[in-house]
Amino acid sequence: MNFELTEERQMLQDSLRRFLSDRYTTATRNRIIDSDTGISDEIWSQLAELGVIGALFTEEQGGFGGAGFDITTVFEELGRAGVVEPFLDTAILGGGLIAALGNDDQRELVEQVIDGSLHLAFAHGEPSSRYDLNHVAAQAVQNGEEIVLNGHKAVVVNAEAAGYLIVSARESGAPGDEDGISLFLVPTDSKGLTLRGYPMLAGGRAAEVTMEDVRLPQSARLGQAGKAYPALQERAAVASTALAAECLGAMETAASLTRDYLLTRQQFGRPIGTFQALQHRMADMLIELEQARSAVINIAGHLSDDPKIRDLNVHAARNLVSRAGRLVAEESIQMHGGIAMTQEYELAHIAKRIVMSDHRFGDTDHHLERFIALSAA
């Protein structure tokens, strides 16, 4: 047993943490959030140069990492600094799906992702699919040599910045079937594709995507027709790993800000951290934080195992981390008082990142249900 990071990952963690604490201050980040694009191109290319995106891909894919612990190392630091740039969407989901399913031509896009020159977005969820991966109603129909897409994709994060959307659509079967789902590389300037963009509460932007007779060549399909589901499940597991690690990093920041505040804020003639009622609540937060850290280690360590073991750990970790995250976010705000309610205070954003991660790839209850189903099977 060894719970130390490898030397390479330790170096990556150190350099990423240093870069973000120097360059990604609260004021900078809040300016980025308020900007029209909601993300910073400059930060993106600097982080790409630092190797942050490369660390999320294997050597075979053109990167130098790609294992569970590479992903958790990167996302824990992104979470710690409350980074809003779409590493999850462009790299883990978009780049990851192309790397997993694409042919040689398509995989050239992964290089552009790694060098920071291309954004991607994963257009999968639909207005009534909630967190069900198999609920794909969008249609892909063969029309001679063309494929024609129709459907509506909900809350597609990073769609406006993306050069391509990775769109899921059904070539056979009905919503809820695992079989029959295909993935397509759809250029965002395609005719018939409409994006209605908007900012998100915790930063970054998303769009409602409507496809009306979007015509694609056969070469737009990623992998085999109708057989994308296992790859979707695998990417959802990796995305959940990244989200859990991001949430953990954000929880660390919340706990650290709260600790500092309790030690400095004076009321009734002494630091409020000298009141035992608050000390015990701080202690409970720290206990839950360590539970979350272990859950993230479990998920990262089992990410390459067979799908059942992998998913058991994924669902366990997401359920635990989102429960612990809610406690840490709410208790941190409460123990701070009014100051934590203000937009310019770091904790406000961090708390939003923690809580809103519960709305991507399944919330507390979703993961509990999937865990029950898997552990009973």
Binding site: G125, L201, Q267, A277, G337, G338, H359
Partner: protein, 399 residues
């Protein structure tokens, strides 16, 4: 024991219900239902409609132009208002300052200020908290120094709710820095147009501007704007805080919130079935509803005690703690129910425009409300302070 309203109370309820059906403007109730921000104009419109009916000042004695309702009537009114998605009555002038003026103010102050509160001439805000004086309010530092017929005020107030709309502010200021903390505080009425006052917005974590900092630099306040006696302001402030806590249980708001959660959960699908049928989600909703049913009765027990003339004491602290926990839990359920559609940030540009909402209409504000309502357990005496009060009273001051 009799858990039902009597005939008179039922008749009153029907009267309130009919009024709301008839008079509450639809565009205002829709904003409340969807969690959208109300404009100053919306709030003033609603106040004027209530004032016209004589129902704006529910808790004021008739001699001052109030409705002089008993606690059960006020409870019924609140409940019906929430059911109808009526806006909350802006409390600063009507239910915070007015009771203080009625009990401690001079005849001149009562005659001048109270009618202007009723007819909407003056919008009041509250100058209590300071950056260094939150839960420990008595440590406030804003100074007022007597200079002839004026006090010269210097200092800073914060968390001043809707101060950006205010014509006047009632302030706690320190007039005797040498006295024991609670004994050197006075209660001053200050015209917001006085030179030396600056209002700076504080933007909250959901992007809203509802609170402010108010800065005072050599602000000259006429001596006749002192309420009661100099250095006795803490007594008046405590009197005011007990009024602030009346209705703090938010039973009506919780029922309205719970209904909204159920509507959303009936429309949202999970695994192809309505979310409301999902056993885990249904269990969460049921748990809150069970708590709320009991809390509503606790609230009524206290309300009817107050109607019989008993002063609510430690019970109002209990209601504040339990009431805010329940409301926050309902906000949590609402954002969960919204699923991925909790993520979009309903921008001001969209509000009030005719563009179709993103996702289900009732999902739009759920996450923003969840974060905004973290304030419920912080303001009006934080839940920690309420627990201190409960423990102190129930444990006989020991510990």
């Amino acid at each position: 024991m009799d858990l039902s309203f009597n005939a008179e109370e039922l008749a009153f309820r029907d009267e309130v219900r009919a009024f709301l059906k008839d008079k509450l403007p639809r565009e205002i109730s829709e904003k409340v239902r969807l969690g959208r921000d109300l404009t100053k104009q919306d709030m003033e419109t609603w106040h004027a409609l209530l004032n016209e009916r004589g129902w704006l000042a529910a808790n004021w004695p008739k001699s001052f132009g109030g409705a002089e309702w008993n606690a059960v009537q006020r409870h019924i009114f609140d409940e019906e208002c929430n059911r109808a998605n009526a806006p909350r009555i802006v409390p600063f002038g009507l239910s915070m300052l007015a009771p203080v003026l009625q009990k401690f103010g001079s005849k001149e102050q009562q005659d001048h200020y109270l009618p202007r509160i009723l007819d909407g001439t003056d919008w009041w805000c509250q100058g209590y908290s300071e950056p260094g004086a939150g839960s420990d309010l008595a440590s406030l530092k804003t100074r007022a120094v007597r200079d002839g017929d004026h006090y010269i005020v210097n200092g800073q107030k914060t968390w001043t709710t809707l101060g950006q709309h205010a014509d006047w502010i009632f302030c706690l200021v320190r007039t005797d820095p040498d006295a024991k903390q609670q004994e050197g505080i006075s209660f001053l009425l200050i015209d917001m147009k006085t030179p030396g006052i600056e209002v700076r917005p504080i933007i909250l974590l959901d992007g809203t501007h509802e609170v402010n900092e108010v800065w005072f630099t050599d602000v000259r306040v006429p001596v006749e704007n002192l309420v009661g006696e100099e250095n006795k302001g803490w007594t008046y402030a405590k009197y005011l805080l007990t009024h602030e806590r009346t209705g703090i249980a938010g039973v009506g708001a919780s029922w309205a919130g719970l209904s909204a959660v159920k509507r959303l959960a009936r429309a949202e699908l999970s695994g192809g079935r309505p979310l409301i049928e999902n056993p885990h989600f249904a269990a969460r909703v049921a748990q809150v509803e069970i708590d709320l049913m009991a809390m509503a009765t606790t609230n009524l027990r206290i309300v009817s005690g107050a109607a019989a003339g008993q002063a609510p004491g430690v019970e109002s602290s209990m209601l504040k703690v339990k009431g805010t926990i329940i409301r926050q839990e309902i906000n949590d359920l609402a954002r969960r129910a919204a699923g991925v559609y909790a993520m979009p940030f309903p921008s001001e540009a969209l509000e009030g425009s005719n563009e179709a909402p993103i996702g289900p209409e009732e999902a739009a504000a759920t996450a923003a409300d969840y974060f905004n309502n973290r304030k419920l357990s912080i303001f009006g005496g934080s839940n920690e302070i309420q627990r201190n009060i409960i423990a102190k009273v129930k444990m006989g001051g020991r510990g």
